[in-house]
Symmetry: none
Subunit: 154 residues, 2 copies
Amino acid sequence: MELFVSTFVNKIDKKGRVSFPSIFRNALPKDYKNEIILYKSLRQNSIEGCSVKRINEIADRINNLDLFSEDEEDFSTSIFSEIIPTNLDSEGRFVIPETLKKFSQITTEATFIGQGYYFQILEPQRAKQKQKLSRTRLVERKKSLSAILKENNK
Amino acid sequence: MELFVSTFVNKIDKKGRVSFPSIFRNALPKDYKNEIILYKSLRQNSIEGCSVKRINEIADRINNLDLFSEDEEDFSTSIFSEIIPTNLDSEGRFVIPETLKKFSQITTEATFIGQGYYFQILEPQRAKQKQKLSRTRLVERKKSLSAILKENNK
DNA sequence: TGGGATTATATGGGCGTCAATGGGAATAAA
DNA sequence: TTTATTCCCATTGACGCCCATATAATCCCA
């Protein structure tokens, strides 16, 4: 599985380290097994992250934008200046940067949420709320979901 | 047969393992023989599951959605974060995750119900009720069903 | 076609490996 | 030196892998 999927709650130790979930590690491209990219989510007060490979791909796309567009400016500012490359140690752990910890209000535990090509890291209580809400909204909009699922049967 | 069909009741052992029915195993695509995907059903308090292949197809659909839409966020949260990739052991068994067990109220036995492209896992008592109900409803609506089938054959 | 023989499936249990976590020593930075 | 970061080793519990058995299904041949 080359996607970030599932949800895991891991502890943060005295040194500030937390295990990056094993199956997330397996989802990292072979050439970048020990490095992840972290940044502030644009959607909510949470951390988002992805592989180095994905950042490279995004960079390519930005390069193809009109160089003088506002979008280009916004993207490069908010993405490149804010991302934090982070190394995993030999046990697959990393230290959550202080700024991101504050931003996401994470203290002693962190919930890792798989989102396919990227992942989120949230304070566990918030994570539960978020998942509950998403699920509720999705059930309400069952029709659009079943449309997506049915297309797959073709 | 590449579909999940028929119904089976299997025991859960001390370690929490349960056999994935043999003919369900045969319904898995050759490249993903030992892995299934489990998740909470959106319809009722039961477990649903499918092959990795099917999830990959769904992932593609989601990735084609507008990256910043609310739908994208809900879909990827509810689907990517809630699915649980699960490996079958060499005897074709797997462990039902604790959260899913609670959600579906499964304890010592599990009923596997084939649903074509996916399958359900229910607590046996509930499974019986469900099947009874489905059958009753179907008989009641036989007429409209046959109308639907005829319509589709055109 | 009957019935023993073979195979497959569901189930049980032992054991080694790995993931998550903790902590000390070594190294680097301030 | 003091603080922070990285590397290495230890522990524990969960999980996967292997072997074993029993019941059920299938086969095969006389």
